[in-house]
Subunit: 208 residues, 2 copies
DNA sequence: AATCATTTCAAATAGGCGTTTGAAACATAG
DNA sequence: CTATGTTTCAAACGCCTATTTGAAATGATT
């Protein structure tokens, strides 16, 4: 499963990433992680101290990969139009969600953390989630101005983020019930463009 | 905790509802459930057979309560306007999500099931989730007509449902990080009205 | 080659889990 | 009261969990 790196610690981290993302902190077992990493049962405690510290490392890794592979600005410049900004954000988040590689770890871990929160949640929210929200905030303020109503901002933020996050939340429905687990690059782009357009229309209607 | 009904089976079911909704099937323990129900550790097996059959009963109960307390049509008549239909749907879903009573069990159980799917997911999707989607479908077709493009329908469905579902998904952020766990009746109504208006604008933009 | 630190390993530890058991308590009907 | 069926109970069962242990193996340094 995990490629045979000579480094046991790295193999453990990679295996832990995949298993924590799939099962969450509680349901993942260190025995399972060690087996996938082809390491001894005691390896986690030797290299990371305990299961919890390994989980922290996994989050750090998952966040770093997601942020560098698909930054939330979507690569679009600051001074672009509203629809294009929305597209940049949606595209980045959706690429993370539909990624089957390491960039997909972040949304999967987040899904687990939302269902069974751990002590890590606070740090995750402050370091990863709130900055993402601020990205959406900037786009909304392009429409409503810098001094726009705080509650309206909050509601629109949720509408935009919610559209993207739903594809993360509903993953088991696609994978287990509908049987359409994977998503092509074109499909991702179509969804991102839809969310950008739909949200632009929403913002316009709210502004009326 | 659980009111002292003379009926042990009912006390077990109520306790199980709350604990399964909070922790999911795997992390909930029968010991914990029996303790809350003030029943013996063997009571679950005696009255329900095993933990899994109890979980089935919990889902049945949670679905029945949610569907009867807050039906997805939101109580609005069939032949009403688009924005009002959207409001009806959003209002019903949000009321479920923010309910601290039995009507809130359904979205909480769903959240758990999405993070750690069980064999029950298939049944839940077919009996509860797909009918809910059809409700949104009807509203969208009021705008695009009966013969509207299937993919556009699917995308808009997700946009509307996603806005509502996000308040379920992000519950731990409100409760544990932001510290604003409860939501007043007025707040719920404001959110529902926002989602209806935002979605109407979105649909209009897509129709262009 | 010998010494030292680092890493791996199988086995053991202590605790939690769902479930089973057989006896005790209780309720009901003859 | 007796007999029968239902419900409750404490204890035990077998399995799985994270972690610890001390020895063995490996690597690096002198």
């Amino acid at each position: 499963m995990i490629e045979a790196t000579p480094n046991t610690k790295e193999r453990l981290l990679k295996a832990a990433c995949r298993i924590f993302a799939e099962k969450g902190f509680r349901d993942a077992t260190v025995a399972e992680i060690c087996e996938m990493a082809e390491a001894n049962i005691a390896a986690v405690n030797y290299h990371f101290g305990d299961k919890e510290k390994l989980y922290d490392e996994v989050w750090r890794h998952a966040f770093a990969i997601a942020a560098s592979t698909y930054p939330v600005d979507g690569g679009v410049p600051e001074d672009t139009g509203i629809e294009e900004s929305l597209y940049g954000y949606a595209s980045a988040i959706l690429h993370r969600i539909f990624s089957e590689g390491e960039a997909g770890l972040f949304p999967r871990l987040l899904n687990q953390e939302m269902a069974a929160p751990t002590l890590a949640l606070d740090k995750i929210a402050k370091e990863a989630l709130f900055p993402q929200r601020r990205q959406v905030e900037k786009t909304i303020k392009k429409m409503f101005g810098e001094a726009c109503d705080e509650h309206v901002l909050w509601l629109c933020q949720h509408s935009i983020i919610g559209q993207c996050a739903f594809y993360n939340f509903s993953r088991p429905l696609r994978e287990r019930v509908m049987g359409c687990g994977t998503m092509s690059e074109e499909s991702i782009d179509i969804i991102a463009r839809h969310i950008a357009r739909f949200s632009l229309g929403g913002l316009k209607e709210i502004q009326k």
